[in-house]
């Protein structure tokens, strides 16, 4: 199902009738389950005082997140945001990096210098977000322009953002730049109806965020954010379109975050009606039901997966908890990469 959004604008699309292969679906489910269980572990580690600072969870958003990560390849650029544990795993981040960063291990990619979701390996195309919402959009554009200079084709840059983040100037400037340069950029907006406690009604006044695509002159896609099949279909289409010269793609998902903004927040502002609506359904349970209904896997097989994941999480946590913390005495306290520049006392 493709809709012409407006006369001289690019089209707005939805998932449509594209079929998703069962093995891709099950692979995505496993990553979602891993993200869910890993995040539950992170929440427990926070409660027991092992994690310092915020813990930001993506409960309810795993289907959307994984659907982007799973369609990216090695060599692509990926700049995830706060609720993208599933996408990070799909892009190839092991749970070791996540646990090391949350637990402040000196051996992690951030070495205690940054924490929680502010992690990545930029040299491997896996950008480390800064907190300032919207800032990653133009950074991914820059990476894509660098690749264009080098003559690389068939690559994609992708980043994620929430409904609240779409109100920043940075988001607008980045998307506009991408549109001008016709970059292979995919921006996935998780509209979980709230930015912290702020509802959509105080965030934007357009009918639907996907309509913004028209203003930028790029393609917009709508997706049902808790429906794994729809997420996989739409993201497959959007990523493929970007990869094959279709220019920037704006994907907007409607969903609900099934947990507070961070560990301290009980999300009491989310209404009962929203929780009971289709938006409030848990993508992980829906996906599991689908797998069982279609008999792609049995309950026993799914239980075995869960066991395997839990074992890996426990083993990795135990390992990371034994790792050294950063040592302030050994820390160089130098913010510069250039050797003669930091000779200043």
């Amino acid at each position: 199902m493709e809709q012409q959004a407006n006369n001289n604008c690019k089209s707005t699309t939805t998932g449509g009738t594209l079929e998703i292969a069962s093995d891709l679906y099950c692979q995505a489910y496993r990553l979602m389950l891993t993200a869910r269980l890993l995040e539950e572990k992170l929440a427990a580690l926070k409660r027991s005082g092992k994690i310092v600072g915020g813990v930001f969870l993506g409960r309810g958003q795993e289907a959307l997140s994984v659907a982007l990560g799973i369609h990216l390849r090695k060599g692509d650029i990926y700049a995830p945001l706060i609720r993208d544990q599933a996408g990070r795993l799909a892009f190839g981040e092991g749970m070791l990096d996540a646990l090391r960063t949350y637990l402040g291990s000196a051996l992690g990619s951030m070495r205690g210098r940054d924490g929680n979701i502010h992690r990545g390996r930029p040299r491997e195309g896996y950008f480390a977000m800064i907190s300032h919402l919207g800032a990653m959009v133009s950074a991914v554009c820059g990476a894509l322009i660098a690749r264009r200079f080098r003559g690389e084709t068939s690559i994609v840059g992708a980043t994620c953002i929430g409904d609240g983040g779409t109100s920043t100037g940075s988001f607008h400037e980045g998307l506009n730049l991408a549109a001008i340069e016709k970059l292979p950029l995919v921006v996935v907006v998780a509209n979980n109806q709230y930015a912290y406690s702020t509802p959509n009604s105080s965030q934007f006044a357009c009918h639907h965020l996907v309509d913004r695509a028209i203003g930028y002159g790029i393609t917009g896609h709508r997706v049902i954010g808790n429906d794994l099949a729809d997420c996989l279909k739409v993201l497959q289409k959007a990523v493929a379109a970007a990869r094959t010269g279709g220019g920037p793609q704006l994907v907007v998902a409607d969903l609900l975050r099934l947990i507070g903004h961070a560990d301290h927040d009980d999300a009491s502002y989310i209404t009962e009606a929203q929780k009971q609506s289709p938006l409030g359904r848990d993508c992980l349970i829906l996906a599991q039901n689908t797998i069982l209904e279609k008999r792609w896997m049995s309950q026993e097989e799914l239980d075995l997966w869960q066991k395997e994941i839990e074992v890996e999480i426990e083993a990795t946590t135990t390992r990371v908890l034994r790792e050294p913390a950063p040592d302030p005495e050994e820390e160089l306290w130098i913010p510069f990469a250039t050797s003669h520049i930091h000779s200043e006392s």
Partner: protein, 322 residues
């Protein structure tokens, strides 16, 4: 004999870098076919097709784009149309570019060129000197060249440095300041230079104020005073050693800066000299900044708002009597 201006030196440095290093590209408003608001990129788009790119009026995204490109191994030069507009890109500079290496161990080699400082008629939004804002943030190098030669060699060094460099080039010097030829040797950007040796007092200054200070020093030499003038060249890193060595010779310090007074480069220099060289001082260190108001438009007001050779000379006379 031909001569080259400060502005031409900046253009020449960019042309050289584009020629020598395929990782270099330029991004900014009107920098392409038009050659930039000040013509600092004149003809470069033609000479280096595809590598001098016009940007939308999106300072945040311009810097963000440069950061992403730098991560991927490029050496972007971003031209801000005026330094004043760089505040719209402050977040990407201060929170993204400046923190990247410390956080991730991935260098962020980009240069942001800021056409800085006052010119007659510039007014509040086309005149500011913002070096202190950028120097505040760990991870940024801030260069403030005051000569044609430095404009050339320091811009080349800025492009080669693996860190984000805020390159504050002074608009007042663009056309006025001339040299006979481009230099073939360079003092590293992190070193200050004793431009004029002296005995009775030290002026520490940089950028366009170097020339006002040299004029004031010349004026005082007629009264028999020998004023030493130290050109910081870069405000971050700050070459405290050269400053202290000069104060050790003269015992008196005046810091001159065109920027607003509150918490700026002049305050930092005085704090360091007071903390590390208190015993070298024969008199309380002094500073002369622009006034603590927005930069006024009218030439009569502007000429009084910023330090000039004559107000610097008066400040020196006061300092010598302290």
């Amino acid at each position: 004999m031909t001569s080259i201006t400060y502005l031409e030196a900046i253009r020449a440095a960019q042309a050289h870098a584009l020629k020598e290093d395929s990782r270099v590209f330029i991004y900014g408003q009107d920098v392409g076919a038009f050659g930039g608001a000040f013509k600092a990129t004149k003809n470069l788009a033609k000479e280096f097709p595809g590598r001098v790119m016009d940007s939308p009026i999106s300072e945040d995204a311009m810097i963000g784009m440069a950061i992403g490109a730098a991560i991927e191994g490029m050496r972007p030069i971003v031209e801000m149309q005026f330094a004043d507009f760089s505040t719209c890109g402050l977040n990407q500079i201060a929170n993204h570019a400046a923190t990247l290496f410390y956080r991730t161990e991935v260098p962020c080699p980009l240069v942001v060129r800021l056409p800085s400082g006052g010119t007659s008629g510039g007014g509040p939004f086309h005149s500011q000197s913002l070096e202190a804002i950028y120097a505040y943030f760990p991870g940024l190098v801030v260069m403030t060249p005051g000569t044609v030669e430095d404009a050339y060699t320091m811009l080349l060094e800025a492009i080669n440095i693996d860190d984000p460099v805020i390159f504050c080039e002074h608009k007042f010097l663009y056309y006025h300041l001339k040299a006979e030829s481009l230099p073939t040797t360079a003092l590293p950007a992190n070193k200050a230079r004793v431009t004029r040796p002296g005995r009775d007092a030290t002026i520490v200054t940089y950028s366009a104020m170097l020339h006002e200070s040299l004029a004031a020093a010349a004026e005082l030499s007629q009264d028999g005073y020998e004023i030493e003038v130290v050109d910081l060249r870069s405000v971050k890193p700050l070459d405290t050693d050269t400053i202290l060595a000069s104060v050790a010779r003269t015992g008196r310090l005046l810091v001159v800066s065109e920027a607003f007074p509150w918490g700026g480069v002049a305050a930092e220099v005085i704090a360091r000299v007071t903390a590390e060289g208190f015993g070298l001082l024969d008199a309380p260190p002094q500073r002369l900044n622009a006034k603590d108001t927005p930069v006024p438009y009218h030439p009569a007001l502007w000429g009084t708002h910023r330090p000039t050779a004559s107000t610097i000379a008066s400040a020196l006379h006061r300092l010598l009597k302290l």
